[in-house]
Amino acid sequence: MRTVHTDLPATRRLILRGAGAIALTGLGIMSFGIAPVFAAANDKYPDDAFKQKGAADAIKSLYGRTAEPSDKVKLDAPEIAENGAVVPISVTTTLADVTSIAFLASENPNALAAVYRIPPGTLPNVANRLKMAKTCDVIVIVEAGGKLYSATKEVKVTVGGCGG
């Protein structure tokens, strides 16, 4: 299913997205009544998941299920963030058939920060920089072979990344 979408030229995909973005706003993925299991796997921006407050609700919206902790998911994040505005966080995994990787910060106003879709042939290693409002758990979810795996690490934030 995924390959069908990812084979689409990016340009066309963006044009489709541009046209559809306004129409989708406010509807939310949940309101379609389709099992949200497919939310991350399909080609749409997961608007509803990004709007959820807590991490559990965001994961549920994104994947429709819960993840199990796995030591095959290596999460690298600082013990103490030098500034909550820019927290370098990365993940690598030895799990096979990874299709997506999501990053969440449990105490941010909206827990979900980023979701990366990993087509076949792309390695399941991602590094990025995220904002953290305060000290909390960083959770990474790896979707592999249709299952969800997670790793969690607490990051202390002394200067919050929400300005204020």
Binding site: P78, E79, I80, A81, E82, N83, A85, V86, V87, P88, S90, A127, R129, T158, V159
Partner: protein, 276 residues
């Protein structure tokens, strides 16, 4: 006990000021103080500020340096620097070696004008001499220009000279006095934080050592979400100790920059830098 040692060291540092100014001895004592206090930090690493003192922060910095946040400012600075003025001249015409690889020689004491000329001041003098308006000393354009000039000078050791002119020595002494004088509601001097307590936290921040503190300028601060010049750093430091900042490029600030740069002679330019 540690405090007593620090106080003693500070006294030793300040001692020569009482009689004859001796910048060479000052610089030596200044460097020795930091090298002794932080025996594990390599001399050239002091220019990396708090990252030379804290392993966890250093890792975050190294990650950021893979694609540093000052990249855009650097490009802007390069573009600004090469764009001619309306009269057809450019910044390159105002500087030795067309302005490339010369950051380590600023500030210098101009014996004609009888005052300290910083790089920021020199850039605005260049603009004004060519019919352009001066840039704000605390905003992005000046930060971008100095970022580019620092970048072309990376690795070159600070080479600040005090010419044989009593006014130059006086400017140096003024800068030194400013550095050690307490001010603001917190009653802090520059030295309170950057000599007595580098590596320690003040609220959430880890203090940078004064040795090499200007070598990384200008800096991208995550706290600012952008770039800042030396002028911006001096004025914001004064605000943070709840003092009243001077005008950017006021004589005291230029003299302070002269003093601080001189005592970091020999340490490499590392700017532009990034900081928390």
């Amino acid at each position: 006990m540690a405090l007593a040692a620090v106080a003693l060291a500070a006294l030793t540092l300040a001692a020569p000021a009482a009689d004859t100014p001796d910048p060479v001895a000052d610089a030596k004592a200044f460097r020795n103080f930091f090298v002794t206090k932080f025996p594990k930090v390599k001399l050239e690493d002091f220019v990396n500020g708090p990252y030379s003192m804290n392993e966890g922060m250093r890792r975050q910095w190294e990650e950021k340096e893979q694609f540093p946040p000052y990249e855009f400012s650097l490009d802007t600075g390069k573009e600004m620097f090469s764009r001619p003025f309306k009269n057809g001249k450019s910044y390159a015409d105002c500087f030795p070696n067309q302005g490339i690889g010369v950051r380590q020689n600023y500030p210098y004491f101009d014996t004609n004008e009888g005052k300290v000329i910083t790089l920021e001041l020199a850039l605005n003098k260049c603009r004004e001499a060519n019919g352009e308006s001066a840039l704000s000393y605390v905003r992005d354009d000046m930060a971008a220009l100095t970022a580019y000039m620092a970048f072309t000078s990376r690795g070159k050791p600070f080479d600040i000279k005090i010419p044989d002119d009593p006014r130059a020595l006086e400017a140096y002494q003024n800068g030194k006095r400013y550095f050690y004088t307490r001010r603001g509601q917190l009653n802090f001097s520059c030295a309170t934080c950057h000599v007595q307590n580098p590596g320690e936290r003040i609220r959430a921040e880890i203090l940078a050592p004064a040795l090499g503190i200007l070598n990384a300028m200008p800096i991208y601060r995550s706290e600012w979400g952008g770039m800042g010049t030396i002028s911006r750093r001096f004025t914001s430091c004064n605000s943070q100790i709840r003092g009243v900042p001077l005008e950017p490029q006021a004589e005291e600030y230029r003299d302070l920059e002269y003093y601080l740069s001189y005592v970091s002679n020999g340490l490499p330019i590392s700017g532009p830098g990034s900081r928390p």
